[in-house]
Amino acid sequence: MDIDRILVAARGNGVDQVAVELACKIGGKSKAKIYIVYVLEVNRSLPVDAIIRPDIEAAEKVLLEAEEYAQAHDFEVETEIIQARDVGPAIIEVARQNNVDLIVMGMSYKKRFGSFTMGNAVPHVLEEAPCRVLICREPKA
């Protein structure tokens, strides 16, 4: 299993750091390049390129922490904030553009109306990704 390029999809859900750590462990042997992308979902009531300060600042903070961690472990890192209407398709697009071998995503344990839910993005990525996908679900609270 050759893994040279790993995409970490950060989403500000508190699981991002775990996803970065996992990516570093997996990419350790081959010294893979790590792309960390934060997708900001923009509500339709705003243009997709709207500048939403607090959201961007939060995303920058997550990316900075992730970048520092990966660099400290001697990885080549690239980070980016992407604004989109839907997280799933945006992740797939970045994965394709950079021709990555693996997508790593973290997700928290969530229930909606009493039953377990994965949201929209994770199933979309699982269905559409051209490469391997690793999902890390957080332990139940």
């Binding site: 339709r44 009531s45 705003l46 243009p47 997709v48 989109a84 209407r85 839907d86 398709p89």
Partner: protein, 223 residues
């Protein structure tokens, strides 16, 4: 390129699909609102993230669609009443500057405009107009409907038994919102008439009128 608009289309059927495709190509931002999940998925596969699942008559759905910043709403559902409600909610609740509705029943053309829809498109009327233009001696032909208004341009053929034959335009008591713009006569250049211009058999008259006055005009000039 001209200013890019945010256009919301209600209904992801054939018209909604082809319309979005063309508008996206022109560089506009487009969102389709469609009730059917499978249609939504197909549209997203083809056109990208430009579809939302929901009922385009519901305030909550339209609010989520960001209608507050929409420049145009186009209602393309198959039922006239659904299109009316989408346009009215868009207009009155979200102040969308331009609303366009598809209508099936041609009578609704006029009613929708009266009820505040900016423009209507009636397939039935479009076909009818083409049929009228194919018939050489049809007495009244719709040439043009002014967008967003109740005004239209019609062509009338004065026949031998028209009540207006031999009368001057001043004598024909036209409705206040109606103007005869042009009189066309065989072997003569079309002329802009005045009150003294006398109408003759076989004259073709181009008039600017309104949907409400069309019937009166027809009565005065034709029978």
């Amino acid at each position: 390129m001209a200013k890019s608009l945010y256009i919301v289309i209600v209904g992801g059927g054939n018209i909604g699909y082809y319309l979005s495709k063309a508008l996206l190509n022109q560089g506009h931002e487009v969102l389709i609102i469609e009730k059917d999940v499978r249609k939504c998925e197909r549209l997203e596969d083809e056109l990208g993230s430009c579809c939302m699942r929901g009922d385009g008559c519901e305030t909550a759905v339209l609010s989520e669609a960001g209608l507050n910043r929409a420049d145009v709403l186009i209602a393309t559902a198959s039922q006239d009443e659904d299109n009316l409600v989408s346009c009215q909610v868009a207009k009155h609740r979200f102040k969308v500057p331009r609303t366009i509705a598809l209508v099936n029943n041609p009578i609704n053309d006029r009613i929708f405009k009266k009820l505040g829809v900016d423009a209507t498109i009636s397939v039935t009327n479009t076909i009818l107009e083409h049929v009228e233009q194919e018939i050489p001696a049809h007495p009244l032909i719709h040439l043009l409907t002014m967008s967003g208004q109740m005004e239209e341009v019609v062509e009338l053929l004065i026949t031998r038994d028209s009540p207006s034959v031999g009368k001057s335009i001043g004598q024909v008591r036209l409705p206040a919102d109606t103007t005869i713009a042009l009189v066309m006569r065989e072997n003569e250049r079309p002329r802009i008439p005045d009150a003294s211009t006398v109408l003759r058999e076989n004259d073709r008259v181009i008039a600017l009128t309104t949907m409400d006055s069309e019937k009166i005009l027809e009565k005065l000039l034709l029978s």
